[in-house]
Subunit: 120 residues, 4 copies
Amino acid sequence: MRVYYNHTDAGGVVYHSCYLTFCEQARSEVFFKNNIFFNKDEGYVVKELKAKYLKPAKLGDILTIKSKLLEIKNASLKLHQEIFKDNEKIFEMDVVLVYTKNGKITKIPKEHKKVIDEFR
Amino acid sequence: MRVYYNHTDAGGVVYHSCYLTFCEQARSEVFFKNNIFFNKDEGYVVKELKAKYLKPAKLGDILTIKSKLLEIKNASLKLHQEIFKDNEKIFEMDVVLVYTKNGKITKIPKEHKKVIDEFR
Amino acid sequence: MRVYYNHTDAGGVVYHSCYLTFCEQARSEVFFKNNIFFNKDEGYVVKELKAKYLKPAKLGDILTIKSKLLEIKNASLKLHQEIFKDNEKIFEMDVVLVYTKNGKITKIPKEHKKVIDEFR
Amino acid sequence: MRVYYNHTDAGGVVYHSCYLTFCEQARSEVFFKNNIFFNKDEGYVVKELKAKYLKPAKLGDILTIKSKLLEIKNASLKLHQEIFKDNEKIFEMDVVLVYTKNGKITKIPKEHKKVIDEFR
């Protein structure tokens, strides 16, 4: 994942909420490459997160995101996600996601479970 | 409209696509304050635009957006929008918007016409 | 603070990292309205955060952000920030910010202390 | 280039200013992969653009950006950029960029010329 101008701010580094976006893109990519495309009325919603910013990232940096499944329940999952720059960890967070359909918390579909297993 | 960190980039000025966002917010605000809230399946879609960037804007700047209706047709309208910083014009664009409903070009509703008249 | 199209995503609600942006704008606004504009080489950097997403926000919603100082140290501060929609809390987070100058952790300037007191 | 949640809006399609961001990322990528990383005080600034939105893009779509140099002058260049989705053109724009250093229009450096030639 490359850092572009739109990710940076006037401080010259990546804007803090972009790290959450990078992590979300990494999660979505696992679904997309398995041909699971969410429709308008379903998806995984962030419920809780706990993040640590360890080092800044800069324009042009190449970042790698690692995601690890910590826990899976009927309708939710908890991931540990880390962002690395040249093998150095610059960010980490624990995030709780809830699967919702038509605005309601819903059991995670079976076909998603296989995909989520990729996070182990 | 205030310029915040997320609008700026590593160059220290407002990222160029944010000007389009500011103009869109100014357009939407006119509808929202008239209690017109678009649902998921309708809205005004940008069809064409022609923009000139005259001066940069910086973190903390207060910007003012002026919108003027140039033309209105059955399903589309053309606006001239300008962004000012301390009475100096820093950006201008002509934008053509098309009203769509369920993905189809649709006649602009009567109740919108009154709102659009505010742009004159 | 109004929710505009750029804050929403295909799920029809506000994208999760925008809540962090809203909170940052609320923090910055307190400094800006006190005529403290950070230059390129200084500012408050997010070190840690812990967030809870309670309810979704939608296009056109008006949100209010409340910020409360939990702790202040030599070079850092901890805030509790809450987002409300019609008097209902929809988001809350604890965030630790570190003041940095030229990339180094630096003592918070005296003139900032008065401003930070507004968060009490 | 993949379309993620943060690029979409409540209308279910890509937010219009993201197309400009995609085009900027495509331009920057050509410089970055040639090991040209701009510092804080230099870069290419958008001066003018003229865009046509032909078709919407949706969550999960893979987009391809093609850039063609139309004109190069001492301190500026003009590109024609197109976005394709499955071989169908969905967006095109002409964009004029000016090279600036310390806030001043500056002659394009020689080492950039070779990189810019990749846009031909």
